[in-house]
Symmetry: C2
Subunit: 460 residues, 2 copies
């Protein structure tokens, strides 16, 4: 629908099919309405899980129709994969010639990511905490967010504020990309997919197509912002920087990015044939892109040797901040588990002492840590199962691991057959369905879907 | 020392150097004495961690001297690696020509594994539970073992009984291997390393050298027995089979072996060129060998395609039963975490209900589950860190992962450059030291060593 002006302007032939996208958008509207409707009844948790899961599924089904009807992605499997990759803000693509796609469809493709990011912010900051998923209740502790018992009207208010920030940052990025020399179409598309930490590009070469350092730095900054907890943006927009500086997840997130970037800058600089600025820019871009789970590419990290290859594979498991549009395990979970591990050793030395994990000056209940550990173990179990499944489908071991890690983490590129310069077109259809499911699992923080498959869910 | 008769018989020139092994054995004697000495004072936990860690280290230092003095392993790094691989019952070897080694040293090499296995049984069933390591207190629940407060005289009594079983099973295996047509030297060596789930062989081709199906089946059976909780042997020797049949870890252990064997039998049979009996035997042998962390080889699973290749890599993480001589994560930990994962979903549906994990009809405290989760996460963190370190040393990604997984799990063979037909000779020296450390970490159930590195340990 919003793609119509672009289609008209460029004279593409996909105007009619774009109307189908309206159906997908209506689904988002319904989910939002469902969770924000003016009712005094508490949301029923079980319904919540199903509405969210089906919502994402139905969006992807409707959203894939434009690609099929237009004929630019004739296979239903491919179209569904691409759309799921969009709405889950993964960014894994099956397109072999992106530039050949009509502008309207390219815009729709970017827009799915932007909508998915918008949906996930509300999901992670307002809905999942209530559903008690993987310690998410923790991440809203300092946000003016919902309490456990009453959702309305807090969800609606929170959603409004966060979406305001989301729109504002997107507009700001469009402006800066235009200043950097991008045309309006590319600027809009890349701003949409940056803020969603999605990573769909209108160019086959991704951001490597735009050689301007200014453009690349702008995208680095906005990927970084999109990978932050959005409730923190609320603070700096009100010129209150203290809660940001003191936020332990934000500090660890920044530390990880700086540390990995320095390591890799030194590494590729020593390998030669690259200037200092370019080494810094390439490292920073790739690190921020993978850690925030965006997936844009300006340089092929697979050429940097087995050590950095390994590092990038492992970074697929970090994930953005909680409450960002980023996917993956999330920085705060790693932070709390690392802290807890150190304390677990202390607990062994002093078995009778009660030693809680502290986060942002609050002590975290053991139940939440327990829940986060369970989350990580589920994550790894799904990663392992997915990898086995993908080797059965015919992928080699590294490509199987890479494709599963990147889809489950909603990142985009990975290693080997699905490296930063490859795409997912060559993966057999069954594999694409498995990966689509993994993208959804990852996006909905595992439990939302797993719980529907549990027997306890269906018992009275 | 025990190798002297073999050396005399075969007329080798290594009699003198073998005397050094006496020093290594004395160390075991000291550790045993330390924990079983007739004193009424409770063992002091901190001392316990250090005595155990240093004990294994000192054994390996002394134990490597015979190889160096004799000159058959001239490099200290190699000799230490081989000896650590022995005492930790790993079975990873740097020997390129095993048959060229004198018999006395080969015997000493096998004997290090047998001693290591003996030490670990007492460690896991009597000492670690008291130190509160990784839920180990749970595994002795139904054994006539130590209580929390008094160790003596229970440790000594338990140790005596378990060692009796260990010796008995070793003798029985020697007898059966002799009946199968092995000579006395090979029968003794392989019995020693089977019961320790060690995997050192006197042949470069491992058990593939012995083509007799009878011999291979005997070894399958004894690997299986060695991978069981040794306290269960106590029951069947007294013709009391109920506690074995009802033991949930034993059932899961058997289930895993049967399930993987059937899967692989079908897989390799369908690939053709193999009879039914051989397909069953090859699958069963390799599965039992890897799951029990023995590491003997009769067939190269790397030739069975990427799917089974992946399956075998993942099996490196299963580990034997708790209270066996096997290494790795251990079946019971997986069992409890799988059970807990299912319950965690139920807890999300019913957040107010208290839903404990049950094991062998007892409910398991949340602290123990918490501790086991921490164990697994430490295990994975060490695996990841080790893999990064090994890629830095120059190994490719898969060889790095394989070498770390197999050493940390005390298995022996892995995948790629350290597959079932390769050895560890080609790994750079720094890599061998890293892997030696990982073998020790794995053997001492991580925490015993990690705790020494924690700041809490050294504070008053």
């Amino acid at each position: 629908m919003f793609g119509i002006p672009f289609s008209l302007y460029h004279g593409d032939d996909d105007i009619f099919t774009l109307l189908f996208s309206g159906l997908a958008i209506s689904t988002i509207g319904f989910i939002t309405y469902y969770f924000t409707k003016d009712s005094n009844k508490d949301i029923r948790k079980r319904e919540g899980y199903i509405v969210v899961t089906l919502g994402w599924l139905v969006m992807s089904l409707f959203g894939s129709i434009p690609f099929i009807v237009h004929g630019s992605i004739p296979s239903f499997t491919d179209a569904f994969f691409e759309t799921m990759s969009g709405f889950t803000t993964t960014g894994a693509s099956i397109l072999n010639d992106i530039e050949a796609m009509p502008h309207g469809l390219l815009f729709w493709r970017s827009f799915t990511q932007w909508l998915g990011g918008m949906g996930f912010i509300v999901l992670s900051l307002a809905i999942l905490p209530i559903l008690g998923i993987g310690g998410m209740q923790l991440f809203v502790a300092e946000v003016p967010g919902p309490t456990k018992d009453k959702i309305h009207p807090r969800v609606r208010e929170t959603a409004k504020r966060l979406w305001g920030i989301y729109v504002l940052l997107t507009l700001l990025e469009i402006l800066l990309l235009l200043i950097g020399g991008m045309n309006l179409f590319d600027a809009v598309n890349h701003a949409l997919t940056t803020m969603a930490t999605g990573g769909f590009s209108t160019k086959q070469d991704s951001i490597a197509h735009f050689t301007s350092p200014f453009i690349q730095y702008v995208i680095i900054v906005f990927m970084f912002l999109a990978g932050m907890n959005f409730s923190l943006h609320y603070y700096w927009l009100h010129r209150n920087f203290n809660p940001i500086k003191k936020n332990e997840e934000f500090r660890f997130y920044t530390f990880l990015i700086v540390a990995f970037s320095i390591l890799i800058t030194v590494g590729i600089f020593l390998q030669g044939n690259i200037g200092v600025e370019k080494a810094i820019r390439d490292s920073l871009f790739q690190v921020v892109s993978i850690i925030t789970t965006t997936g844009f590419v300006t340089a092929d990290y697979e050429l940097w040797g087995v050590f950095f290859h390994t590092i990038f594979f492992l970074m697929l498991f970090i994930g953005g901040s909680a409450g960002s549009t980023g996917g993956g395990v999330k920085v705060v979970r790693h932070f709390l588990l690392i802290k807890n591990s150190a304390l677990e050793l202390r607990r062994l030395v002093h078995p009778r002492a009660v030693i809680p994990v502290r986060y942002n000056n609050n002590s975290v209940s053991k139940d939440i840590i327990f829940n986060i550990m369970a989350f990580l173990l589920f994550y790894l179990a799904i990663f392992v199962t997915g990898t086995i499944a993908m080797t059965l489908v015919g992928l080699d071991f590294l490509t199987a691991m890479g494709s599963v890690a990147t889809c489950l983490g909603n990142v985009g590129p990975a290693i080997e057959g699905v490296g930063p310069t490859d795409n997912f077109a060559h993966i057999p259809d069954i594999g694409k369905w498995i990966l689509s499911f993994l993208m959804l699992l990852g996006r909905l923080e595992l439990f939302t879907i797993l719980i529907i498959f549990s027997s306890a869910f269906w018992k009275k």
